[in-house]
Symmetry: C2
Subunit: 548 residues, 2 copies
């Protein structure tokens, strides 16, 4: 009766529905690059598939193709040379609109089944996607595999699951029978149609071209909309592979593939015309505050779901696990050279120091010990290169140089340039750690994207989040009253809190189906992945009624 | 274990949860003013309670009271003279913020139980509220009772029910246990706090001061927010009674009553300062497009849920129940002198006429027959006065005069002034019916609020809704292909459709728990009562996590 792909994926969907309700650990896609899961030849096949695209035209058979563009430069210094179709945006929008009725007709279960099929097919390409993510973003290999493939796919499935829950709650039809005392009842038959709002645009970022794109892509798609992905011009390939696979799944199942398209604009004005087009009804965005705010101000015809930048922070009050705490922080500050929207930037340490199981540590000792923990964690070059990856943009290199110069605070640890033997041209940098006073707000109270962190002599965390926003906050304390006060402060400023993380979980990591990414309630993001609010307004219910 | 008021109302909530999922007929509050339901003395008690307020100060004990204002003029011409406290908006906002933590601490079940208790208490005041609604809006008595009391209370309960469903889906806590192969698993304990976004403002309208206010009021309240109600300055009393009752319920249950407050501003600038205040996080509005669009443009710090004006229309293609159709239309066009956001304004009739069970009727015959049906329906003065009520504003009287003058189209039926023996000063007017051509778009393609309708010689319905929005559309046709085409058109233009209504259900009526009021997808309203999207973004989930 239902769509065969819905039946095929029913067990996975049901497990995902349980997961979003219980929020314990669950994953649909294996984060370990295991041959048992991905096949004995997956590593080689993925690498070959990636390499076969280099220097080639990436054919998508989209309407309105007028030119080809190869905009990407790899942070690892290799030549990419993949060129993508530049398409007329009116042609894309018209084609997307034309594809929507067939997609609507597939119904909630058809759309859900097809979306999960797409995710499974992308999962089978995880190694190819990992190479594409690694080489365009500068992520280390393991991170590119995990965040770029299974974790992104899980985030996509999470959005599909929320979308299914909200749509499924709407009955297809109802009989309305109103008693009229001794007279016969009034009886109406009612039908409720779920209709997508219109063409959706998903604007990707330079650092997580799949992880930050899949939630909006799949939320919009599952709720009945056509989607145009506008990737960052330095991270097109992961989006292009995604679009090609989705188009293939659509075609194979009798749906117009123009439901999902790639937009590689030749100039900034084209992007602006696209996102402000009256037919575009939602815009998902991840990236910097300037363009994010521009979108919120100008895309008045659309719902805008924006993940922007914030100043993430950690309060260090006291600990009974001093060395594990320092190791945990060293990993957080180093991972992908701090180029995560969840990386901590400001670490607040009391001017009078902190109590630890090793006795009292002065503010200066904490600074010095954290610097040493970073040096020691990154001492082996092969570990350092794997964890740090490469710096994605020259802007970040400039910010590192500025921090190193001492103009923003006292330099506790200088950034070092490392050589990556495998990629001699890669821009590899270790983190720079600065010390400053709480009063030096101009230094630490704005986001300085990249491996730049401040150990701030005792200030308040709450005002920082309220004013500038944050995606993550942390607290280290052995005193329950301090943890309670920090909990209350994060509830007021609406940011997620990690408490005393000293083991294998890090403040900058959020886990699909369990951790909300962004609260939607502070300036760092006006939406959260993934919750009901992320999906519920992407569709309308259109009813009709008549006497029976 | 749970809140006693949650236990008290659990059965009602569970029935409401079933109702929003099945969308058959269901009501929590009796729409018949029956002594069995409301008590033998309810009629007298309600009237006395209403009359006792006339000419008096309406004390609410709100903070920052600086003056008293009596702004209302009754469309029935009676003296009201109730004066309300004018309060400093900073004092209101500060008090609302201060009341929120205690409300948050009540938890989802506590808030839900208290909200239903408030609705039950308002239900017990249904006759008092009906008088207040009737005398401030000009509605007829029965409509004021039904729409002003039980139907409004049902819409409020519907919002509470959706809010409960979304909040209850978020677990209070979870244990996250991630396997680590042969090593011990990573284990985190996680807590999820539901936190209201902040102070909510609900801006009421002049015609339905409870029905259009309760959805936003109870959606915001149930999701953990403080609410300030800013009623229309001619329909304050129903909101003031509501606020006083809610404050009493809060106080009796140990919650700061300043969670819900009334704002009667002494000037327009005060309203503008209120709704654009940085601490105001949501604005619910019902009313005209000019101020509604101003709110959407200026309240950038808040979520705006706006029910605006549209051009509702009906396509008449053919029918097998000609007289019942005309009677149904006559009632729709007459009820409350067309002062409903759901009243049909444009009736499209083919230039070549329509087929009926009585043979073919020309366009002119349909026009004449509809005019006669209106006259006949309103022939008895006591019926006419009961159905028409009184005209709420002088603007509407001016629009009627303009239509009567023939400048907007050929006058098929002139509006008549009727005397209401009970209220000699009441402004009672019968509907004016005009004929025009499809090309006369400037006449019928803008909302002309009030008892003014056009029989349009054959145009398309779809473009009208897409451009100007609509809350309702209707079709009369015996041909399935015409009904299908209209269904497809309403799915594209995103408006609810009533098909061949010829009995005791009217296109301008929407039933709580079954009919969506507004789709949220066309210019007449950017939100729908009541669905997940109406509640899901009014709260955030703030998580914290730590190792176990």
């Amino acid at each position: 009766m239902t769509h065969p792909l819905f039946e095929k994926h029913r067990a996975k969907l049901e497990a995902a529905l349980t997961a979003i309700h219980t929020r314990g650990y669950w994953a649909a896609y294996n984060e370990m690059p295991s041959p048992k899961t991905y096949g004995e030849t997956a590593v080689d096949d993925g690498k070959k598939a990636f390499e076969a695209q280099l220097g080639q035209k990436f054919e998508l058979n989209q309407p309105g193709t007028t030119a080809w563009l190869a905009p990407e430069k790899s942070p690892y210094g290799i030549e990419l040379g993949v060129s993508y179709p530049v398409c007329d945006i009116e042609a894309l929008i018209t084609a997307g609109q034309a594809a929507m009725p067939g997609w609507q007709a597939a119904g909630v279960e058809g759309r859900t089944g097809l979306c999960i099929e797409m995710l499974d097919r992308l999962n089978a390409q995880s190694f190819e996607l990992a190479h594409a993510v690694m080489m365009t973003t500068g992520q280390g290999w393991m991170m590119a595999f995990q965040a770029g493939s299974p974790h992104a796919q899980d985030r996509g499935l999470e959005a599909v699951t929320y979308a299914y829950r909200e749509q499924k709650f709407v009955p297809a039809e109802a009989t309305w029978e109103k008693p009229q005392g001794k007279n016969p009842p009034l009886v109406l038959k009612k039908h409720f149609e779920i209709v997508g709002r219109g063409v959706a645009v998903v604007v990707g970022c330079a650092t997580f071209p799949t992880w930050n794109t899949y939630p909006g892509l799949f939320a919009a798609l599952a709720t009945g909309n056509a989607v145009i992905i506008k990737p960052h011009d330095n991270a097109v390939l992961p989006a292009a592979i995604t679009v090609r696979t989705i188009r293939a799944v659509l075609s194979e199942n009798g749906i117009d593939p123009n439901l999902v398209m790639l937009c590689v604009p030749d100039k900034r004005e084209t992007t602006q015309a696209l996102v402000t087009h009256f037919a575009v009804k939602s815009v998902d965005f991840t990236g910097g505050n300037a363009f994010g705010q521009w979108l919120i101000d100008h895309c008045r015809q659309a719902q805008v779901y924006a993940e922007l930048a914030g100043v993430n922070n950690i309060v260090i009050d006291s600990t009974d696990a001093y060395k594990p705490m320092l190791r945990n922080l060293a990993f957080t500050l180093s991972l992908y050279s701090g180029q995560m929207c969840t990386t901590s930037q400001a670490l607040f340490v009391p001017a009078l120091g902190i109590d630890t199981e090793d006795g009292h540590k002065s503010y200066d000792e904490v600074c010095a010990d954290l610097a040493r923990a970073l040096e020691s964690f990154l001492a082996k070059p092969e570990v350092a290169c794997a964890v740090l990856g490469a710096v994605q943009s020259t802007d970040t290199l400039e910010r590192i140089a500025l921090a190193d110069s001492g103009q923003l605070g006292k330099v506790l640890l200088t950034s070092k340039k490392l050589d990556n033997p495998e990629f001699p041209k890669a821009a590899v940098r270790t983190p720079v750690l600065l010390a400053c006073d709480a009063a030096d707000e101009s230094a630490y109270m704005q986001e300085r994207f990249g491996p730049i962190s401040f150990v701030v002599r005792c200030a308040l965390s709450e005002r920082l989040v309220g004013t500038h926003g944050a995606l993550t906050a942390g607290i280290y304390s052995t005193r329950p009253e301090v943890v309670d006060a920090m909990t209350a402060a994060t509830c007021r400023s609406k940011v997620a809190l990690s408490i005393n993380l000293t083991g294998g979980v890090f403040v900058n990591q959020s886990s699909a189906f369990s951790d909300y990414h962004g609260s939607g309630g502070n300036p760092a993001a006006n939406a959260s992945y993934a919750n009901s609010a992320f999906v519920a307004n992407r569709f309308c219910v259109i009813q009709r009624r008549y006497h029976v």
